[in-house]
C-alpha cells in the first residue's frame, strides 16, 4: 500500500538534500595537504571524497529510517514516547562516559562504530514525540499549571545535561521547541510569561560564561576582534558578501579554504551564499519556509490531536532550527553550534531530520487529505474518529485509550 502523502514536501526535502550533498562536497573536496596528513594519523579521511562518501552512507541509512518512519503506525509512537525520551536521556548521559567524544572542548558526541552520534538531535525528536503524546492525552489540561510545568521540568532536565556538555545551541533549540508546542497547546499566556521571566536570570548567568560572553560580544561587533572571537562571523560575512547576486560559481568559493571554520557543518549556508549568490541563498531560505508552512498546513488538516502536535512539532523543529542557523550565519544572533537541517555535514542531524520528515509525511498521508487520493483502502472518516477518541479518553482513566486509538487508526 502506498499512502497518499504530501509529495511537494518530499520534493522540497529531496531538493534540500541534493543541495546539501553538493555543498558538502564543495566544502570538503579541497583540503590542504598538511590537514590531510594530520587527519591521516587519526585515520580520518579528509581527502576529496572523504566527507561525501560518509555523508552518502548516512544518507542511505537516513532513507531507510525515513521509510520506516513513514510506514510506522503513528499510534505506536505514543507507546514509545516515554521509553524513547528515557532512551535519549541515557544516550545523552553516555556522552560523559568513556564512550563520549570531546570535540573542541565540548562533549556532544557518543562513539558508535564506525562513526559518532550526537544525542542532542535525538533528544529534540523524542521531545516532540513526547510532548505530542503528553498534550494529546485526556488528562492534559492546558489551563492547569501542573500539566504546564511537567514538560518544562522534563525540558529543564535535558537542559542541565546540555549545559554540562556544553551545547548552548541544543539548549536554545530545545527551549524554543518546547515553549512553542506549549504555546500551541493553548496554555495560559500567564504561565509562559512567568516562565519567560524566570528564564531571564538563568540566561544571563549562562551568557556570563566567559566563552559565551565572548561570542555575544563578537556578535554585537564582530569587527572589533575580527581575528579572534569575531573571526568566524567576519569570515561568514566575507563569504556571503563576496557571493553577490549570482555567487562566485559552484565550487569556486574560496572561504572554504580554511578561512571560515566549520564551513561544512554549521556555516554551510555561507558557502551556499558565496558560491550560488543571493539567488541561491534565498532559494534555500524559501525552501525551508515552504517546508515549514507546508508542515503547518499538514498539521492544520490533521484532526488527530497527537498527529497534529507531531506535525507542528516537527515543522517547528526543522523550521525554527533552520531560521536560527540563518540568523547565526548572518550575524543576527550570537554564534553557536547548530547545524542546518538536511544541508550541513553530519550524520545525526541528517538521520533525525529525515526520520522527522518521514513522520511528517506519515501524518500527511494519514490526515484528512488521504481520503481524496487513497482509494485502495477506504478509511473511517477522521472527522468521526476524533470525537470518538476523545470520548473514549474521557471515559477511561489511565492508558487504556491506546487500544482504542490503535484500533481506530488501522
Amino acid at each position: 500500500m502506498i499512502k497518499s502523502y504530501d509529495k511537494w514536501l518530499l520534493v522540497i526535502v529531496l531538493l534540500l538534500i541534493v543541495i546539501g550533498l553538493t555543498a558538502v562536497y564543495s566544502a570538503t573536496s579541497v583540503t590542504s595537504p598538511d590537514v590531510i596528513e594530520k587527519f591521516k594519523k587519526k585515520e580520518i579521511d579528509v581527502t576529496q571524497f572523504g566527507f561525501l562518501k560518509k555523508q552518502l552512507f548516512t544518507l542511505s541509512l537516513g532513507f531507510v529510517m525515513m521509510l520506516i518512519a513513514f510506514k510506522v503506525p503513528l499510534d505506536y509512537l505514543k507507546k514509545i514516547a516515554i521509553p524513547l525520551l528515557i532512551f535519549s536521556m541515557i544516550c545523552l548521559l553516555l556522552v560523559f562516559t568513556p564512550l563520549g567524544a570531546t570535540v573542541n572542548g565540548a562533549r556532544r558526541w557518543i562513539r558508535i562504530w564506525p562513526s559518532s552520534f550526537q544525542p542532542s538531535e535525538l533528544v529534540k525528536l523524542s521531545m516532540v514525540i513526547f510532548m505530542s503524546w503528553y498534550m494529546s492525552i485526556k488528562f492534559y489540561k492546558q489551563n492547569n499549571f501542573k500539566t504546564f510545568i511537567i514538560p518544562i521540568a522534563i525540558m529543564a532536565l535535558f537542559q542541565v545535561v546540555f549545559l554540562k556538555q556544553p551545547d548552548f545551541g541544543a539548549v536554545m533549540s530545545l527551549a524554543l521547541l518546547t515553549v512553542s508546542l506549549l504555546f500551541l497547546s493553548g496554555v495560559k499566556l500567564r504561565y509562559l510569561s512567568l516562565f519567560a521571566v524566570l528564564a531571564v536570570p538563568v540566561v544571563i548567568k549562562l551568557i556570563k560564561e566567559p566563552y559565551r560572553w565572548k561570542r555575544v560580544v563578537a556578535f554585537l561587533d564582530p569587527w572589533s576582534d575580527a581575528k579572534g572571537s569575531g573571526f568566524q562571523l567576519v569570515q561568514s560575512f566575507i563569504a556571503l558578501g563576496s557571493g553577490g547576486l549570482r555567487g562566485v560559481g559552484l565550487g569556486e568559493g574560496r572561504q572554504k579554504l580554511s578561512y571560515l571554520p566549520e564551513i561544512h557543518t554549521d556555516f554551510i549556508f555561507s558557502l551556499i551564499g558565496e558560491e550560488l549568490g543571493f539567488i541561491g541563498a534565498v532559494f534555500v531560505v524559501a525552501l525551508f519556509l515552504v517546508l515549514f508552512l507546508r508542515g503547518l498546513a499538514i498539521a492544520r488538516r490533521t484532526e488527530d490531536r497527537f498527529s497534529q502536535y507531531l506535525a507542528y512539532g516537527i515543522s517547528i523543529m526543522i523550521g525554527v532550527q533552520a531560521v536560527i542557523n540563518f540568523f547565526v550565519v548572518t550575524g543576527m544572533v550570537p554564534t553557536k553550534g547548530l547545524p542546518l537541517p538536511f544541508i550541513s555535514y553530519g550524520g545525526s542531524s541528517l538521520i533525525i531530520n529525515m526520520i522527522a520528515v518521514g513522520l511528517l509525511l506519515n501524518v500527511s498521508a494519514s490526515g484528512s487529505s488521504s481520503q481524496q487520493f487513497d482509494d485502495s483502502q477506504p478509511k473511517p472518516a477522521p472527522v468521526a474518529r476524533v470525537p470518538l477518541h476523545r470520548g473514549e479518553m474521557r471515559r477511561h482513566k489511565g492508558f487504556s485509550y491506546r487500544h482504542i486509538n490503535q484500533g481506530s487508526s488501522r
Binding site: V30, S32, P33, D34, V35, S180, F183, L184, S185, G186, F237, I238, A239, L240, G241, S242, G243, G244, L245, R254, Q255, L257, S258, Y259, G273, G277, F278, A281, V282, V285, A286, F288, L289, F292, L293, L296, A299, R300, Y312, I316, G319, V320, V323, F326, F327, T330, G331, M332
Partner: protein
C-alpha cells in the same frame, strides 16, 4: 489553537523574511566591500623567487654568485618531544642544543633551525632525521649568495641578508635589477598560507650587473693599500681609481674591510665605504681649486711671482704658516711646492665669491651621483658665513668637508681636459639571455677651458719631479700629475687641530699627458710619517705602476725609444 498556530506561523515567517532582508544587505548592498575584503585575504601578491643575478667585473669575472644550499626548518606544532629532536639535531648542526630546543619549542608552525647549509651538512642532517625518525623537521632549498673573491671589492659589491635582500653596495643599489624582472605573481592562498593556484612558477633569473671595476686593478690597489695601512698602522685608508674621461670607477676600496660572506660578524666601521661616506679636510690637494680658478679667471699667469719669504701670512686675524720657508715663488712653484702662503695670496686675488664659485663648480658640497647608496655631499660654507680667516683656510683645504671621491673627480677634470664627470660603478645591466638592459652613459660637464687645464696639468706634473712635494709618487717611465695633501684631524676632545693625527693623501693621474687613470689614496692617521708625499705618494706610485703595466700602457720613455727605432 488555530489562532495560535497562525501567530506562530507568522512569527517564524517574519524570521525568514528578516533573513532574506539581512542577506540582501550583506550580499547585495555590501557586496563590493566584502568582495574587497575577500580578495584582500585570499589573494596574495607573492614575490616570485628569483635567482639573484651575478655581479661581474668589467671583464666578466664573477664577483658575486649563487650557491645551491638547503635550509632546515621545523614545524614545532608537530613535534611531540622537542628535547629528543633537539638532542638528535645537535649532532648534525653546529649549534647549541639549547638554542635548537628554543626554536623547536616556539609557538609557531614554521621556524628556521639553520639556514643555507652546504651539501655535506645537509646530507648529514638528513641522515639523522631519517635514522632517528624525527617528525616536524623539513628541508627547503635556498640560494646562498657567495662572493668568491672574499674581501675583494667588498665595499663596492656590498652584501645581502639571509633572505637575499641587498643591504649595501651594488647589491643594494641594484637590488631590483638583480632580483625582479616583471611583476609579483598573484596567487590564491588558503588561510593556512598554502598556495593553490600555481601560476607560472618557472625559475626566474635576475639580471647580471657588469661593473666598471677591473678585478686585477682592484686587487693591485687593495694589496698596496693593505701594505701602507700596516706599514703606518693607519686607522683607515681609501683608494679610488677612475677612468678620468668616462668616470668609470676601475677600483675602489676602503680600510678597514670585511668579508661579505660573513657580514654579520663585522663592525659597522668595517663596512663603511669611506671614499663616499666619510668627509675629511682635503688639505693641500684642494689647492688645485684656487690654482685653476686663478688661471681661468686670468688673475695669474704661470710665471706670476708670489713672495713667500715670510714663511707665513696673516688672514683675517689668523696666521697661516708654510711647512718650509720658501723664497719668492712663481705660480708654478707655489703649486709644485704646495706653499700655503702662496696659495692664500692667490686666493685673496680671486676674492671670496670666486673661490666659492669654483669650489662649487668642481662639484664639492654635493653628491657626485655615483651609483651606490650612502654617499654624502660634504659641506661647503657659503661666503656670507665665512669668517675673515676662511678664505685662507679654504684655499688650502681646511674649513671644508669633502669626500675622497669628490677630490678625485676634481682631478679627473684636470686630467680629461676640463670636464666634471659623473663617477659610476656599473657599466651595464645584462639580462640572463644576454640582452643589454641598461648601459651607463657618460655624463660630463665642461668646467674649465682646454688651455688652462693643459697649463695646470703641466704644473701638476712638476709635483712628482725633482723639487716637488711628491717625488715619491713618480712612476718609472710615466709622468704623474698629482698633488699631495696633509690635513690635520680635529681632535674631538679639544675641538682643535690635533698635533699628531693627520690625514695623508695623494691624488693625481697618470700618464700625465694622456691620462688613463685618475687615482686618490687617502691614509687616515698614519703613524711614523704624516706627509702625503711620504705616506700616500709611494702607494700611489706602486698602484699606478702596476696598473699601467696591467693595462699595457706604454711607458712614456718607451714610446720615444720605439719612435727612434722605427726611424
Amino acid at each position: 489553537m488555530k489562532k495560535r498556530a497562525i501567530i506562530l506561523g507568522v512569527l517564524v515567517t517574519i524570521g525568514y523574511i528578516a533573513v532574506a532582508a539581512r542577506l540582501s544587505q550583506i550580499m547585495l548592498v555590501e557586496h563590493d566591500l566584502f568582495t574587497a575584503k575577500a580578495k584582500g585575504q585570499q589573494i596574495k601578491k607573492e614575490a616570485v623567487p628569483v635567482k639573484r643575478g651575478m655581479i661581474l667585473d668589467r671583464a666578466g669575472r664573477e664577483l658575486a654568485v649563487n650557491l645551491d644550499t638547503e635550509s632546515v626548518f621545523a614545524n614545532p606544532s608537530e613535534i611531540p618531544s622537542p628535547e629528543r629532536v633537539a638532542d638528535s639535531l645537535s649532532k648534525g648542526i653546529k649549534k647549541n642544543p639549547d638554542v635548537i630546543l628554543a626554536k623547536l619549542s616556539a609557538d609557531k608552525k614554521f621556524n628556521w633551525i639553520e639556514r643555507k647549509l652546504d651539501t655535506e651538512d645537509t646530507n648529514r642532517i638528513k641522515e639523522i632525521v631519517k635514522d632517528s625518525k624525527l617528525e616536524g623537521v623539513g628541508f627547503f632549498p635556498e640560494m646562498k649568495r657567495f662572493y668568491p673573491r672574499g674581501k675583494l671589492a667588498s665595499h663596492v659589491i656590498g652584501y645581502v641578508d639571509i633572505d637575499n635582500n641587498g643591504l649595501e653596495g651594488i647589491e643594494m643599489s641594484y637590488h631590483k635589477h638583480l632580483t625582479t624582472r616583471g611583476e609579483n605573481l598573484k596567487v590564491v592562498r588558503d588561510a593556512r598560507g598554502n598556495v593553490l593556484s600555481e601560476g607560472q612558477r618557472k625559475e626566474i633569473k635576475g639580471n647580471n650587473i657588469v661593473l666598471t671595476v677591473d678585478e686585477v686593478l682592484q686587487h693591485i690597489m687593495e694589496r698596496n693599500i693593505d701594505e701602507v695601512v700596516s706599514k703606518y698602522s693607519a686607522a683607515a685608508a681609501v683608494g679610488i681609481m677612475m677612468d678620468p674621461k668616462t668616470g668609470e670607477i676601475l677600483a675602489m676600496t676602503s680600510r678597514p674591510t670585511y668579508d661579505p660572506n660573513n657580514p654579520a660578524d663585522v663592525k659597522a666601521g668595517q663596512r663603511r665605504n669611506r671614499g663616499i661616506t666619510d668627509c675629511y679636510e682635503p688639505g693641500s690637494t684642494f689647492k688645485v681649486i684656487v690654482g685653476t680658478a686663478a688661471l681661468e679667471e686670468k688673475v695669474v699667469n704661470p710665471n706670476s711671482k708670489f713672495d713667500c719669504s715670510a714663511g707665513s701670512i696673516e688672514v683675517g686675524g689668523g696666521r697661516i704658516k708654510d711647512a718650509h720657508k720658501h723664497g719668492v715663488l712663481t705660480f708654478k712653484e707655489v703649486i709644485q711646492k704646495s706653499s700655503n702662503v702662496g696659495t692664500i695670496q692667490i686666493a685673496l686675488k680671486l676674492g671670496r665669491q670666486r673661490v666659492y664659485d669654483y669650489i662649487k663648480r668642481f662639484g664639492f658640497g654635493e653628491k657626485s651621483g655615483i651609483d651606490l647608496v650612502g654617499e654624502v655631499s660634504g659641506a661647503v660654507k657659503k661666503p656670507a658665513r665665512w669668517s675673515g680667516m676662511t678664505i685662507g683656510a679654504i684655499s688650502i683645504g681646511q674649513e671644508v668637508a669633502v669626500t675622497p671621491l669628490q677630490v678625485l673627480r676634481a682631478y679627473a677634470a684636470i686630467a680629461n681636459g676640463g670636464y666634471l664627470v659623473k663617477p659610476h660603478l656599473v657599466s651595464q645591466v645584462v639580462s640572463p639571455e644576454g640582452e643589454q638592459i641598461y648601459k651607463a652613459a657618460i655624463k660630463a660637464e665642461r668646467i674649465l677651458s682646454d688651455e688652462n687645464v693643459e697649463t695646470f696639468r703641466n704644473i701638476l706634473k712638476t709635483v712628482t719631479e725633482e723639487g716637488g712635494t711628491a717625488t715619491t709618487a713618480a712612476v718609472d717611465g710615466n709622468l704623474v700629475a698629482g698633488k699631495t695633501g696633509t690635513a690635520q684631524l680635529i681632535d674631538p676632545r679639544t675641538k682643535r687641530y690635533s698635533k699628531d693625527r693627520f690625514i695623508s693623501s695623494f691624488v693625481g693621474f697618470v700618464p700625465a699627458d694622456k691620462p688613463k687613470l685618475a687615482m686618490i689614496v687617502v691614509v687616515y692617521e698614519p703613524r711614523g710619517a704624516i706627509y702625503g708625499g711620504v705616506v700616500a705618494g709611494p702607494v700611489f706610485k706602486k698602484i699606478a705602476g702596476e696598473s699601467l703595466s696591467h693595462l699595457s700602457v706604454l711607458r712614456d720613455d718607451a714610446k720615444e725609444k720605439r719612435l727612434v727605432i722605427s726611424n
